[in-house]
């Protein structure tokens, strides 16, 4: 792929902090990353957050009147609200106006919009969300599916594993990523019926290392790709995020608890803050939706402007790594 500027369609109306933080992030992405941005949403609401009300040359504001709310039923909303920011973003990718879309809004709606507007890659029954899970001193693990397909058939999990494997190759240049199946025990035979069936299907997949447990997250050399259904994956991800937040809170609280601790914190706090950046969801970038014929980055619901810049960085990396084409060439023809 060339290094020419890519165009990113950003859903300005999606997320708890929309449109202010999304607009700020889009402006920063244009300035810091040299990308073009098409910002979709309600014109007057967007321009309120653009300094002087005039967008820079590489940021185009595209007015759309409808908004998909966080509590809208995703697929129905995507069908009904064709002039919504998230649907127009997906349409922009379909039409080739943009190479990739970013949304921090209703995840189900972003998934449905991408699926219905861009279409599925042949051979992939359902898309899946791939999330990089940080591993200290190591490349991230790929958790797939983190919430796109809650009720998954066994064959779909095999497809998720293949997509996760190719994604790990494309993003982190891992030659032969190892694949673990998330279960409630390492031994073969552990898990519910879905897990047992998937285990048998995955036996012949290159890189399959068997079952892994939730305690294998963030551990090096256990599995580069951890595959599961969207329900379990989402629960695991939220538990991990919450545990990390609680741990960080405990550390910072302890460093404020006594005079000696406060003295120590003056030395260790800058180091801790720097180290903690590896775990900051605003800095690690967005999750990607794999399995559709276009690139879609999903940023978390409470995204700040920094999160949008990180998502744009991931988007640019995925376009440059030609992730969609790699999936089409490898996963859709896999046996």
């Amino acid at each position: 792929m060339s290094d020419s500027p890519i165009t990113i369609a950003i859903d300005a109306m999606g997320g708890d902090n929309a449109p202010g933080e999304i607009v700020a992030g889009a402006l920063d992405a244009v300035a810091e990353l040299g990308v073009r941005v098409e910002l979709y949403g309600q014109l007057e609401a967007i321009l309120e957050h653009v300094p002087g009300g005039i967008a820079p040359p590489d940021l185009e504001v595209i007015d759309c009147r409808e908004v998909v709310a966080m509590d809208d039923e995703p697929a129905a909303a995507v069908r009904r609200k064709k002039d919504s920011s998230v649907v127009r973003c997906a349409q922009a990718v379909r039409e080739g106006r943009a190479e990739v879309m970013i949304s921090a809004g209703n995840t189900g709606a972003a998934m449905a919009a991408a699926l219905l507007r861009m279409g599925r890659i042949p051979g992939i029954a359902r898309p899946a969300i791939a999330v990089p899970v940080p591993v200290p001193g190591h490349h991230p693990q790929v958790l797939i599916d983190a919430g796109a397909t809650v009720d998954a058939a066994p064959e779909w999990l095999v497809q998720f594993a293949r997509m996760g494997r190719e994604y790990a190759r494309a993003r982190w240049r891992i030659e032969q990523p190892s694949i673990g199946l998330l279960s409630n025990g390492e031994e073969e035979g552990k898990g519910d019926e879905l897990r047992k069936t998937v285990f048998d299907l995955l036996r012949k997949e290159a890189g399959f290392v068997g079952n892994v447990e939730a305690s294998d997250f963030m551990q090096p050399n256990r599995a580069d790709v951890i595959v599961t259904d969207g329900f379990t994956g989402n629960v695991a991800l939220k538990a991990l995020e919450s545990a990390l937040r609680s741990l960080a809170g405990l550390v910072f609280h302890t460093l404020e608890s006594t005079e000696e601790a406060r003295a120590a914190s003056r030395v260790v706090l800058p180091l801790l803050l720097e180290a903690a950046e590896a775990y900051d969801p605003d800095l690690t970038g967005g999750a990607v939706l794999l399995g559709v014929k276009g690139m879609c980055v999903i940023s978390h619901g409470s995204s700040s402007s920094r999160a949008i810049v990180s998502a744009a960085r991931v988007a640019r990396e995925c376009v440059r790594a030609d992730v969609v084409q790699r999936l089409r060439e490898t996963v859709s023809h896999a046996g």
Binding site: A76, R79, A112, L115, L116, R120, A125, D151, A153
Partner: protein
């Protein structure tokens, strides 16, 4: 009111609609077309969830819309479509053709 048909391409018949549904559904569900019979139920026999049905509806609106201006499916009607045959009959009725 029946949707307007493009005269030069002729109206779609029930067999053609069944063929279209089978083709699109086999792509969406990644299953063999031969398993998609008129009697097959979307949920139990074919494993089609609500998202798959919406994918089918979008595909049909696009395919049929190329020949018949203004062809749409009401989302509220989806709950009444249990079998492939129900869908064929529904499309036939929407197009204002004899079943």
């Amino acid at each position: 009111m029946p949707a307007e048909t493009h005269v030069e391409q002729g109206p779609l018949g029930p067999d053609e609609i069944l063929g279209l549904i089978r083709e699109r559904l086999s792509e969406i569900l990644e299953i063999d077309e031969t398993t998609i019979t008129r009697e097959a139920t979307f949920a139990d026999d074919l494993g089609a969830d609500s998202l798959a049905l919406i994918e089918l509806v979008e595909a049909l609106e696009e395919d049929i819309g190329e020949r018949t201006v203004g062809f749409t499916v009401d989302d509220e009607d989806l709950a009444d479509l249990h079998t492939v045959g129900d869908a064929v009959d529904y499309v036939v009725a929407r197009l204002g053709q004899p079943g």
